[in-house]
Amino acid sequence: MTRVDCENVGRAAMATEDGYVSELSADQIEAHLADCSDCRGEVRELRALANLLDGQKRKQRTENIWERVEQHLPAALPPRSRSRVGRAFVILGLLLLGYRLLEIVPNRHLGLLFKLVPILLVIAAFSYLRENPFRINTQLTLEGR
């Protein structure tokens, strides 16, 4: 529970002015302000400041930065969807799990080709994502450089 002291009342009084429902009720705030001239003065000043600020407008800017932005946009469009990547790996995981379950079935005779299935699945996944897992990313930079 919030204590009814000068700090909390000042904060709550201004928050109430801003339309926010604080933990102190309007009655608690008013009762404290009626008794405390310091808080009354402070809230009066802060209200005046808030009114002054409410009457101001942000300066309108007219900069056009498209050219600056366009120069630095990555050439590859669109950015690859994470959900697409995630989905591909989930499917890959499930297929590999299914493969593992098949592998532990006793008395199976699936031949040599069956052993290549995991490799083929991984190649298929990276082909689908058009991603080279052996590529070294030379564009990585350290923060602050």
Binding site: R11, Y20, R44, L46, Q56, R58, K59, P78
Partner: protein, 179 residues
């Protein structure tokens, strides 16, 4: 073209659709970045970097929500990253740093004092005060953009306003005496 359509087109490889998003929000973004960084040149750098980050993250945008609040989180991260790594710039004109537009509600000399006091605040306080009072964001919207609970917004905003009041008092600014 609405934002959702533009984002979907960007995802399909349409760079021009991204241009729509940049041109629609660049002015707002530059204004917000100046509100954090305090000068136009750094703000332009931050906005540029933020749009590039945004482009690369468009596949993670939730299309059921508005674009700009999502983009703002990227922008402010860029601003603070840039702000922490750079020395304060020398500025050649007031236009480079101005956050406030001239209005009939305040005399030009008082506006300059208010502007100066805002610039003397820490970036986080300046950001919070300008988002609340110049953009009229609610505590809920502030909490989403700044990624903190609403109770924290209440405390931080209260302290930020007290700091601003104290700075204005140091400049003998009489407009907030409350009399």
């Amino acid at each position: 073209m609405d934002d959702q359509t533009a984002i979907q087109r960007c995802r399909a490889g349409d760079k021009e659709a991204f241009r729509h998003l940049v041109e629609r929000y660049q002015a707002e973004a530059v204004g917000h970045a100046i509100g954090i960084l305090g000068n136009r040149e750094d703000a332009l750098d931050a906005v540029q970097e933020a749009f590039i980050d945004c482009f690369q993250a468009l596949d993670r945008v939730d299309l059921t929500r508005r674009f700009y609040p999502w983009f703002y989180v990227i922008l402010r991260n860029r601003c603070y990253k840039l702000g922490s790594g750079r020395k304060k710039r020398e500025v050649s004109s007031a236009d480079e740093t101005e956050i406030l537009a001239p209005t009939a509600s305040i005399q030009p000399e008082d506006r300059m004092l208010l502007e100066r006091a805002l610039h003397e605040l820490p970036a986080e306080d300046r950001e919070l005060i300008t988002l609340r009072h110049l953009d009229g964001l609610s505590y809920q919207e502030l909490a989403e953009r700044l990624e903190v609970p609403q109770g924290t917004i209440m405390s931080r905003l209260h302290h930020a306003r007290k700091k601003l009041r104290d700075k204005l008092a140091r400049f003998s600014f009489t407009g907030v005496s409350g009399d």
